[in-house]
């Protein structure tokens, strides 16, 4: 109107619409990136899919020299290490999240525990692996000698222990958040009826937060599966199906880390990429389902 010429208005309108388009574009790029990522993994796996077919997932022999690619040992290795790690971490992360979430809401010890969780979460995977090699492996070796089995030291148990340490901060922080979202009034209602804090936690909070905590476990499981470096350093690189929790094994990610750089043949490389594709599906499944359940739970809570 007064001090605005048609020209400046048009230039402002142009800038506004360009900026809006830029924002939309950034969203589109993410979608393209994600689809491109998936398509790359898929197309690069095609050779292996046609070569090995379904036996890729069921065959127990992985022998690049004979061009036999069966991923069953890695699937089992991944599954066993991750489940074991989850079981080891469970009591600790549960205790930690209830302790901080409900008993010690503030004060010196809460700060100590909270910053310890943050510290633990901040240590890089490769350093966990390094420490595991020098501290955990010798201990496991002694146990193995004591039990009279081959003292590898490295193997599923060593990896699971380190893996457990690594996922505790993650699962504890999720369950702590879930517990803190339980409404104050139902906690107070339980206390006012004469429940002890223990009864309030086990009979009111945990049932209420059940699905949120379950989702936290799914996400932690996804975390454990996708973890690479520490496991690569500790699992012992064996392509056989593990016979006990002391056996050396390989996980989907550790075999990729170990063999990708030296894979020269096209089929070998393609088989490793198919492993990555499987890994992608499995981790995406756990993290998305976990996130979905948590979101749904938060809406209801």
């Amino acid at each position: 109107m007064l001090n605005l010429t048609q020209k400046t208005i048009r230039s402002v309108e142009l800038k506004e619409s360009l900026f809006k388009k830029l924002l939309v574009l950034s969203g589109l790029v993410v979608v393209f990136l994600m689809s491109g990522l998936f398509l790359t993994l898929f197309t690069k796996s095609l050779l292996s899919i046609s070569h090995s077919g379904f036996s890729f997932l069921t065959s127990s022999t992985w022998d690049p020299v004979k061009e036999t690619y069966g991923a069953l040992p890695f699937l089992l290795g991944t599954l066993i290490t991750s489940i074991l790690a989850l079981l080891i971490s469970l009591p600790f992360s549960a205790a930690l999240s209830i302790f901080i979430g409900e008993y010690l809401k503030e004060g010196f010890w809460t700060t100590v525990l909270n910053s310890s969780i943050d510290l633990l979460a901040g240590i890089p995977s490769v350093i966990f692996g390094f420490w595991g090699l020098f501290v955990v492996v010798p201990i496991i070796r002694k146990i193995e000698l004591f039990l009279g089995i081959i003292p590898h030291g490295v193997g599923i148990l060593s990896s699971s222990i380190i893996l457990a340490l690594m996922i505790i901060p993650y699962s504890a922080s999720i369950s702590r958040e879930v517990i803190s979202l339980v409404p104050q009034d139902i906690k107070e209602a339980a206390l006012s009826l004469g429940a002890t804090p223990f009864e309030m936690v086990t009979k009111v909070i945990l049932p209420y937060a059940k699905s949120g905590i379950f989702a936290g476990f799914l996400m932690s499981f996804g975390r454990a599966i996708s973890e690479t470096m520490a496991v690569t350093m500790l699992i012992g690189n064996s392509n056989k199906i593990p016979s006990s929790i002391f056996s050396p094994a390989n996980t989907l990610s550790s075999v990729i880390a170990n063999e990708f750089a030296e894979a020269a043949e096209a089929e070998y490389l393609s088989s490793l990429i198919e492993l990555a594709l499987v890994l992608f599906f499995v981790t995406a499944f756990f993290s998305l389902v976990g996130r979905f359940i948590i979101k749904k739970w938060m809406v209801n809570a």
Partner: protein, 278 residues
Amino acid sequence: MIYDASIRYRLLKDRLFKISLGVLSCILLMPLLFILYYIFINGITAFSFDFFLELPKPVGEAGGGISNAIVGTLLLIAVASTISIPFGVLIGLYLSENKTGKLPDITRLCIDTLQGIPSIVMGIIAYTWIVIPLGSFSLFSGAFALSLMMIPLISKSTEETLNLIPDALKEAAYALGAPYHTTLLRVIIPSGKSGLCSGILLGVARVSGETAPLLFTAFGNPFMSVDLFKSVNSLPLLIFNYATSPYQDWQNLAWGASLLLVLFVLSLSLIAKVVSKR
């Protein structure tokens, strides 16, 4: 008062529960403190002027340093940040501006999926997209793999921060006649500055310890390299390679590198915390 015979038992159970929670939490503290102690004790002996300024020496020769890995790590982070910060902030802005809708929902799903993808898979992607076409391992491909990991972290923290900014500020800017882009860039983003910065710092802290995505991209390099299109060393790669080597000298360098990396990552997260409290 109703006399309840079991009340003493119930209180006992409560106390036992509380004690066992405390004990479990303290047991957990021990390995943590031990890890930090172990890294510190082993790492501090490796620290010296040479450690920071020299290149690694061949096996058998004493001394040597990790200057190439320090420079490499900083370069990788710098390049990865250059790619991922503007992009991640834009996506976060887009998502906080468009809370509903088809494309924003799909974008959110993609971001969530991207965040869940194992870091080693990012390495494979950077390998097929960049290393193969360019024909060599490179700093750029490593930084690209890292930025793939940073983008979801930064965009999510940006979205969450901006969602907390009251609509009243946006309305105030509009009521003064500010155009859309100025409102976002000069009012909304500055208001969320501390949250944005802390999100970015945490993103950097998160990827600076990553090894897996660098295995087949940055690859590692025993020499100093600042070339964007040549392979480069980094602290995590050096730790991985030297930790699994049989040589005491190299293992010592790896402990020193571990201490340096832990200090770096922890101070980044500490700064992030201080920034977000402001």
